[in-house]
Symmetry: D2
C-alpha cells in the first residue's frame, strides 16, 4: 500500500464534498464517492481542499466529513486534509483533531498576507511550530488561488527547514521550469527528496509534468481514471500513450477548469456518473445553464468516442 511520505507516487485525488439538494452534508454519497475513487485506482485522497468547499463548512461539519471519509477508506489509501488557515490556533486545532481521527497528514498553502521571500519562509517556520513533529504535511504552491508567488528558491528553503514536509503540491503556472529546478536540486542532494504531485490548471499539463520528474498528480477531475491511466502509461514508459489518453480527455478537462463554474461542472458529471446523489454546490456558488449542459453532453459524447478509438 502507498503511504503519505517522501516517496509517494500516483494520484492523490482532490475530492468534492457531497451535499444533499437541501445543502446538508450527504454522507451516503460520501461513501459512494470513496468507493468510486478507490475503484478508479487513486493512490491517495485529499479532502477539504478549495474544490472541497472547505470554507463553506462549519468546524463541526469538517470533522464529521473527515471522520466519514476515514471510516470508509479504512486505511486503504492515505488521506490528507486541507488545513490552511489565516491563524495558527485554528490550524493547530483542525490539524490535531484530524490527525487524531486517523488522517495521514495535512496540506498547507500560505495566506495572501505574506509577500516577500523572507515573509514566506518565516510563515512556514511558524507552520512547522504549529503542526509539531508528528504531522506530515504537503506544501501547496497555488499562486492563482493564494496570490502568493513562491520562487523555486523559496520552496527549497521551506523544504530544507521543514522535516515533516514530505510533499509538494505543484500548481504554479507556468511551472514547468520551476518543477525542473526543484527536482534537479533534489537529484543533486541539495535538499532531501520530497514527493512532487502536480495540479497545474487541474492537471492540464500532466504529461509534461511527468516528463519533468513529477511523481504524479494531486488534483480533481470528473474522470479520475484520466490521471490514473496517464500516470500509469507514463510510468510504464509509453509516453505517447500517456499523451493519447490525456488528449482524449483534454477538451472536457479544459471545460471543467473554467474558474468559477468548474466545481459545478465536476459535481454535475459526478452526479451523472452516479457517484453522488446531488450536484448541489453551497452558496455562493456557480450554477450550470441549459447551454452549459448542452456543451457537456457534446464533450462527454466526443470523449467516449475518442477513447473507444484509442482502445
Amino acid at each position: 500500500m502507498s503511504a503519505f511520505n517522501r516517496d509517494a507516487k500516483g494520484v492523490y485525488l482532490i475530492t468534492v464534498t457531497p451535499f444533499k439538494d437541501n445543502g446538508e452534508l450527504d454522507l451516503a454519497s460520501t461513501d459512494r464517492m470513496i468507493d468510486f475513487l478507490l475503484g478508479c485506482g487513486v493512490t491517495g485522497l485529499t479532502v477539504l481542499g478549495i474544490m472541497g468547499e472547505a470554507p463553506k463548512l462549519t468546524a463541526e461539519e469538517s470533522k464529521i466529513f473527515v471522520k466519514q471519509v476515514l471510516r470508509r477508506v479504512q486505511g486503504r489509501v492515505p488521506v490528507v486534509v486541507g488545513a490552511s488557515s489565516v491563524g495558527f490556533a485554528p490550524m493547530r486545532e483542525l490539524s490535531h483533531s484530524v490527525m487524531e481521527l486517523g488522517a495521514d497528514g495535512v496540506m498547507i498553502a500560505p495566506p495572501v498576507s505574506v509577500r516577500t521571500d523572507d515573509q514566506i519562509v518565516a510563515y512556514f517556520d511558524m507552520v512547522n511550530e504549529t503542526l509539531g513533529p508528528d504531522t506530515p504535511w504537503c506544501l501547496q504552491d497555488h499562486p492563482v488561488a493564494t496570490g502568493v508567488q513562491m520562487s523555486a528558491g523559496v520552496i527549497q528553503r521551506i523544504l530544507k527547514s521543514s522535516p515533516q514536509c514530505v510533499m509538494l503540491k505543484h500548481e504554479d503556472c507556468p511551472g514547468l521550469a520551476k518543477l525542473s529546478t526543484i527536482r534537479a536540486a533534489m537529484a543533486r542532494g541539495d535538499l532531501p527528496r520530497a514527493s512532487i504531485l502536480c495540479g497545474n490548471g487541474g492537471g492540464l499539463f500532466l504529461p509534461e509534468e511527468l516528463s519533468r520528474g513529477a511523481d504524479g498528480a494531486m488534483t480533481g477531475f470528473a474522470y479520475p481514471e484520466m490521471m490514473v491511466d496517464v500516470v500509469a502509461a507514463h510510468a510504464a514508459g509509453d509516453v505517447e500513450r500517456a499523451h493519447d489518453l490525456f488528449d482524449a480527455y483534454l477538451p472536457l478537462a479544459r471545460y471543467e477548469q473554467q474558474s468559477g463554474v468548474g466545481l459545478a461542472v465536476r459535481k454535475h458529471l459526478f452526479w451523472q456518473r452516479g457517484v453522488i446523489a446531488s450536484a448541489a454546490v453551497r452558496k455562493p456558488g456557480p450554477q450550470l445553464s441549459a447551454a452549459d449542459l448542452t456543451d457537456l453532453d457534446r464533450l462527454v459524447r466526443r470523449q467516449t468516442r475518442r477513447l473507444a478509438e484509442l482502445g
Copy 2:
C-alpha cells in the same frame, strides 16, 4: 441606555483581544478592559473585528471571549460581534451562537471574491437569508482590508433590501463624499435611516465625518477618550473644540494607524495604561522595536502636554 439600532450614536469601540504572554486568552484583562472602556464613556463595543485578531482564535475561543465580554458588560452597552466569513454555514453558526449568548448584533464585511455591483448586492441578499429576521447587523465598508469597492449606490441598494441592517460602519478612504451622498439619500427618504459610524483610517477623519452627518465613530485607539470627547464636543455644537481635541491626539493616532504595527502599538499603550496585563499579539504579528518605544514615549509625553494646554 443606547441600543444597537438605526438611531445609535456615539462611540462603538473596536476592542482588542487580550492574551497572556504565553498566547492564551486573558479573561481577567478582558474584564479590566471592559471596565476601562465603559469608564471612558463608549456607547457600544465591537468585538472580534480585524483588530481583535478574530482569525487567530479557534471557534471555541471566540465563544469564550464573547461570553466573557457579555458577562462583564451586563447589558450596559450593546455588544456587536464581527461575523464575516467566506462561507455562510460558519457565518450562521457564529452569529446564531453569539446572539444566543446575548450579543446585540453582528458586523459583516464582503469577501474579496465579490467584485461587480450585482455580485456585491447578491452576496448581501445571501447574508440576510443566513442571518435571518432576528439578527440586527452592521455593514462594514472597509475596502483597504476587504479589497471590495462598494459605491454609494451599492450601499444604498444593500441598505434598502436589508431590513435588519441598522448600521453602516464607514471606513472607505476617501469617503467623505460617499458619506455625504448616503446621508443625503436618507434625509430625502430614499432609504430608511441607518446609523452611520465612522472608522476611516482609525478615526483619522472623525471631525470632518461628524460634520458630514456621521452619528459617531466605530473604531479603536489606545485613547478611546479621544473619540468620546470629540463626538461629545461636536454634538454640543463646539466644532472648534472638537478639532482642538482631535488635533491633540492626531500625532499619536497617526502613529498607531501604521498598518502592520498598529495593533502592537495599541496593545502596548493599553498595557502601559494598565488596561491589559500583556501586550502580546498572536503570531503572525508585529513586534515593537526600541526605536518604536522611544517614538511612543515622545508622542505620549507631547500629547499629555498638549491636552493640558487645551484644558
Copy 3:
C-alpha cells in the same frame, strides 16, 4: 472584403511584433508575417495588443510598426490598433495618429484603477469623448490582464452609450454565460448589434463560444489556421468538424497559453514555421529551455499526425 464594423465576422488575428536578435524592430519579418497571416485567411488584424509587446515599444516605434503593417496590408483586411492607456492625452495622440495613418479602428481596455460599475461606465464615457465621433473602436473585456470585472450589465451600458463601439473582444473566463446574455440582449433589440469576437484563454473555448453566438475570434496562436478553419466549419454548420479540428490543435494551444512563457512559445513556432527571422522577445520576457523545446517538438509532431488523420 470585410470591414471593421458591427457585422464583422471571422478571425481578427492578434499579431506579435517581430524583433531582430538585437532587439530592433524587424520590418522585413513584419511584412512576411502579414503575408503569412493573410494567406491563412484571417479577416482582420489587431496590432499592439498585450501579446504585441506594446508597452515595450517607444511611441516612435509603435508608429513605425503600424505604418509598416498598413503599407503591407494595403487595405485587404481591417487593421485595429491597441490604444489602451492610463491617460487620455496619450490615448488621443496614439489613436489619432494611427487613424491618420490609415488604421480602421482602435481597441481599448479599462485601467485597473476603475472598479465599481459606475466608475467603469464613466471611464468609457471619457474614452468616447477622447476618441471622438470618427474612430470606431473595440471594447476589450479581459479581466485576467486588466484586473477589471465588467458584468454583462455594465458591458451593455457601455455599448449603448458608445455609438462608435462596434465590437466586443470577449475574453472573460468563465465567460460563456456572459456571452449568451449580451447576445440575447442584442437579439431582443435592447441594444444595437455589435460584433463579438472571442479570445478567452487564447481561443481555448472557441467552438463553445461560436455556438453561443460569437461572430468569430480575436486572438493569437502560432497556427492561425486553427481559428480560421474552426470558424469556417462552424459557419458551414459542421459543428462536429469544428470540434475535431479544434481538439487536434488543443494540446499545443493549451501549452502556448501558459501565461508568462506563451509569447516565447508563439514566437518560437512562428520562427520555426519561417514566418519571422528571430524569436526574440524584448526584456523583461520569457525564454524557452531545452525541455520546453522538447515538449514543443512532441506537440507539433503529434498535432501534424492528428490533423493528417482528420484529413
Copy 4:
C-alpha cells in the same frame, strides 16, 4: 549648492504639473511654481511623479514640461525626473532625452509584474543596463502605489549592484523598521552610503524618519515650508521644535493625503496661494465638493493660527 548624489539632504519636492482650465500645459504657472518652491527653500525637485500626473501627459508634453522646469531652475537645485515604465525602450528613450535636456537624474519604481525577491533584483539589473553608466537614479519604494513589496534585504541587494543608484525614496508603510535596518547596514559598511529621502504617506512620518537617519524628505504638500522647516529644525538638533511644526501642519497634511482626492486638494491650495493659475486636474481625476472646500477653509485657518502661536 546641493547635488543629486549619495550625500543629498533636505527636501526634494515632488511637483504637480500645472494645467490651464482647458487642460493644456500651463508653462507660465510652471515658472511661477518653480520660483515659489525655490523660495520655500527646497534643495531639489522631482517632476513627473505619480502626483505629477505623468501618465496623463503625451511623450511630447513630458519633454516640454521638463524643458520648461530646467530652463527656469537654471541649475540652482537638482531636478530628478520620474521615468518608471513597463518597458525598457520607453524608459531608455525618456531618461536619455531628459538627461540630454539637463536633468540630474531619474527615479524608477518597479512594475507590478515583479513579485519574488529574485524577480525584483533581476528587474533592476535590467534598469541599470537600460540607464547606462551616466545616469544617476533614485530607487522608489512605494508599495501602496506599485503593489511591489521590497524587503530591506532586497533593497540592499539592489543598492549594492547599482553603482548609479544614489538615492532611496522610502515610502513603505510601516517603514520605520526598514529605514533603520538599511541605514544601519550602510553605517556598518555593508553597502555604500546612499541618500535616503522619505515620503511615507506624503511625509506623515517625517519627524520619526529623520530620527531614524533619513536625510530628508521627497514628497509633495501644498505647504512645502513644512518639510523644509521640520528638516531644518531637526538638523539643528531641536527635535521638539521639529515635532511642534510638524504637528501644526499635520491636520491639513492628513487631509491632503486622502488617496484619490489628495491631488485636487494640493492643486486647490496651490491655486489659493497664488502659485498656479488653475487647480485643474486632468481626467480621470478627482474634483472637490463645496463640503471639501469648507473643510479646507477651516483647516487652513486653524493651521495659520497654530503656527502663529508657535511663533
